[in-house]
């Protein structure tokens, strides 16, 4: 009996030890370098939109068909990011596919975001040729100096974006002293049929460059773009931590002879050339309780004035009235295509405020981050307000519940959008 008692004590101790002794493993196979790498994500993103039936955007899209107040939309995406490395060379390709199904139809779009060859003879020097993203600028929601990037979606600035076909190099030099780092990135940008067509007028070769300094703990970039496809433009940006938890940043872009196209209320097309100077100022603050605040002000000198957007909405209203009375949709079709995307792009006007507040893991809810984002159009006082919740507790799975309310009077940016609210759940699995 005593022997059983001893055995029980021994077993208890052994089991106890097994549970208290953590064994951490770190196998070399986990860090083995492979020449071929494949990764990316698949994403399911159902969205319900509350349509604003009185808005200009709703009239343009649904004028000849019935629509429900609530509009379902199912988005499926897959992004493949692959690379092959041999010696000092690397080939990288990023391909994105979006499939969307809504009440009207199915649509599919596959785009090569990047496809670029890099050569790195030394850490000081890198050459790249192919389709790639440069992502210049320091702003979070907007980047007036990103002359060679497609615009961000300010409601989701971290989304992957399609690049342009370029040939570029990075030369880096470090120093001891007030200037710690200097780098220069010269870029050649061809614009021909089927190559970078959407960058500007179809003509030959453009030249751009960025010079970066880390000077007195401040990041500073000087940027330029010149050539025949776009008018010459210059930019400067900076970013600096004032304290360990408080960062400020800014951008200044000067575009020479910018040509703005706009219509009056009868649909007559006008254009005006002027030198446009756009500015962005922003800050990022992290509080002791891990609340992150990002605040930015944008003055976009290439944007439309309140009068110009008012004329556009008025033209759509008149076109809709004509369609209802006569069935003639000529003006509505014209309004859909006029002036490229000048009126339908994200934040088409001139002065905006951006505010995002996120709280990491409140109430000790690990891997849970609620946040709220607002964009205010200072010109017409309309705004969007978007609360969201992010959960990353399951490895490689990101769940993001997002909703946005659009608020504004008639003839204002957010008052004339297709929706007055939307809600969506984005489930993204990384592999």
């Amino acid at each position: 009996m005593k022997r059983w008692g001893l055995l029980w004590v021994l077993l208890t101790l052994l089991i106890g030890t097994a549970f208290t002794q953590e064994n951490y493993s770190f196998e070399l196979s986990e860090i083995e370098e492979k020449p071929l790498n494949l990764g990316g994500y698949v994403e399911l993103y159902p969205v319900v939109r509350g349509l604003n039936e009185d808005s200009a955007a709703h009239k343009l899209k649904f004028y000849d068909r019935d629509s429900e107040r609530l509009h379902d939309e199912y988005n499926f995406s897959a992004l493949v990011n692959g690379s092959y490395t041999k010696g000092i060379s690397e080939f990288r390709a990023i391909v994105n596919t979006n499939v969307t199904h809504d009440d009207l139809d199915w649509s599919e779009d596959t785009t090569l975001y990047e496809g670029v060859v890099s050569l790195r003879p030394s850490p000081r020097l890198t050459f790249k040729a192919g389709k790639t993203t440069l992502k210049w600028g320091k702003g979070y929601a907007w980047n007036p100096v990103a002359f060679l990037d497609r615009p961000k979606d300010p409601t989701d600035p971290e989304l992957a974006r399609e690049g342009f076909v370029v040939a570029c190099a990075d030369y880096i030099k470090s120093f001891d002293g007030p200037i710690k780092t200097f780098s220069f990135t010269p870029v050649l940008v061809p614009v021909y049929d089927h190559i970078n067509e959407d960058l500007g007028t179809i003509t030959g070769l453009n030249v751009a460059g960025r010079t970066y300094f880390l000077l007195y703990d401040t990041d500073i970039d000087f940027i330029f773009l010149t050539g025949e496809s776009k008018t010459t433009r210059y930019g400067v940006d900076f970013s600096r931590n004032i304290t360990s938890s408080f960062e400020v940043h800014g951008e200044l872009a000067f575009i020479k002879n910018y040509e703005k196209k706009f219509i009056d209320e009868t649909g007559t097309l006008f254009s005006r050339q002027y030198n446009a100077t756009s500015t962005l100022l922003g800050l990022r603050y992290l509080s002791g309780s891990e609340t992150t605040t990002i605040f930015e002000y944008l003055h976009n000198a290439t944007g439309l004035t309140g009068g110009e957007t008012g004329d556009y909405y008025s033209f759509i209203d008149q076109g809709y009235t004509t369609y209802l009375s006569s069935g003639n949709d000529t003006d509505l079709k014209r309004a859909s295509h006029i002036t490229g995307n000048q009126y339908t792009r994200k934040n088409p006007m001139q002065d905006y405020l951006y505010l995002r507040i996120s709280q990491k893991e409140p109430f000790e809810l690990l891997y849970f981050t609620p946040s709220i984002t607002s964009i205010v159009n200072m010109n017409d006082k309309s705004f969007s307000l978007g609360p969201e919740c992010l959960y990353t507790g399951v490895e490689n799975l990101e769940l993001r519940l997002r909703t946005t309310f659009l608020v504004g009077d008639s003839y204002t940016e957010y008052g004339e959008k297709q929706n007055d609210f939307w809600i969506g759940l984005r489930a993204r699995y990384y592999y």
């Binding site: 986990e30 860090i31 850490p123 320091k138 470090s174 360990s244 990022r284 000790e364």
Partner: protein, 255 residues
């Protein structure tokens, strides 16, 4: 006139304050020896310039784990960089520290964004200053030394206010000159976290050091984070590796 005098007084006061702050500590042979001990401890933990792999494990109170693997490089007193190799959701993200400046590069976002030492790119108990750690002797001076028999207790005081922890209490194994435990405290002596150094391992080329660091915090009750080191190797890097422009290419340094 009064205004000019007042402004002059402010400027002189500020200059004096800076001069005073820059003055070295009063010479104390015992503390000088302790500071040399701290330098020796740094060299025992890692060479001046090196590469290494680390696994970070965040453990929740219910035992659920989240793991990250990083490849890290360091040069000199003030340059550290890391790139995430896994999990897939973090792969390719890289971090850079130049003295007190820190940046995070997220491939989709593109441009590096500035981050702070008290944030954590991995969540859990380790913050950015733990993950991008400089030498202890680069950030701290020994303020007090206590003999505890087999161990020495060093009271370390941050050299500047920008260091993540104002004070460290470091227990040092006398024979190996390696830390066994570190308590990280605020200026008001509030305990932020405790790090325990375990499982001393021979990494080759004379590098013998603890391979596992466990940490917990009274601010995150029940949570624990673990850092496991592998393949620590002395390696020279050019300064240009530690720049914003090179951040997207950090993974190319792996051999």
């Amino acid at each position: 006139m009064k205004k000019t005098l007042f402004l002059t007084w402010i400027v002189v006061s500020l200059i004096c304050a800076r001069v005073q702050a820059a003055e070295p500590q009063e010479a104390n042979p015992e503390l000088e020896k302790a500071n040399q001990l701290l330098v020796q401890l740094d060299r025992n933990l890692n060479p001046v310039s090196y590469e290494s792999y680390r696994k970070l494990i965040n453990i929740e109170p219910d035992g659920k784990k989240k793991e990250f693997i990083l490849y890290s490089v360091k040069k000199g007193m003030d340059r550290v960089a890391s790139v995430f190799l896994s999990p897939a959701s973090e792969k390719g993200r890289s971090t850079l520290r130049l003295d007190e400046n820190m940046w995070l590069y997220i491939p989709n976002v593109g441009k590096p964004i500035r981050i702070t030492s008290l944030q954590s790119v991995t969540g859990g108990v380790f913050n950015n200053s733990d993950i991008l750690r400089l030498d202890y002797s680069a950030e701290y001076n020994v303020a007090q030394i206590q003999d505890l028999g087999q161990e020495t207790l060093l009271h370390l005081k941050a050299k500047t206010k920008n260091v993540a922890y104002d004070t460290l209490k470091m227990w040092v194994n006398k024979t190996k000159t390696l830390p066994t435990k570190i308590e990280c405290l605020t200026a008001t002596s509030m305990l932020i976290k405790t790090m325990v150094f375990k499982e001393t391992k021979d990494f080759g080329n004379g590098i013998v050091r603890p391979s596992v660091i466990e940490t917990d915090s009274p601010l995150h009750k029940g949570y624990k984070s673990v850092m496991i080191h592998a393949n620590i190797k002395k390696r020279a890097f050019s300064d240009e590796v530690f720049t914003l422009t090179f951040m997207p290419n950090l993974g190319s340094l792996r051999q």
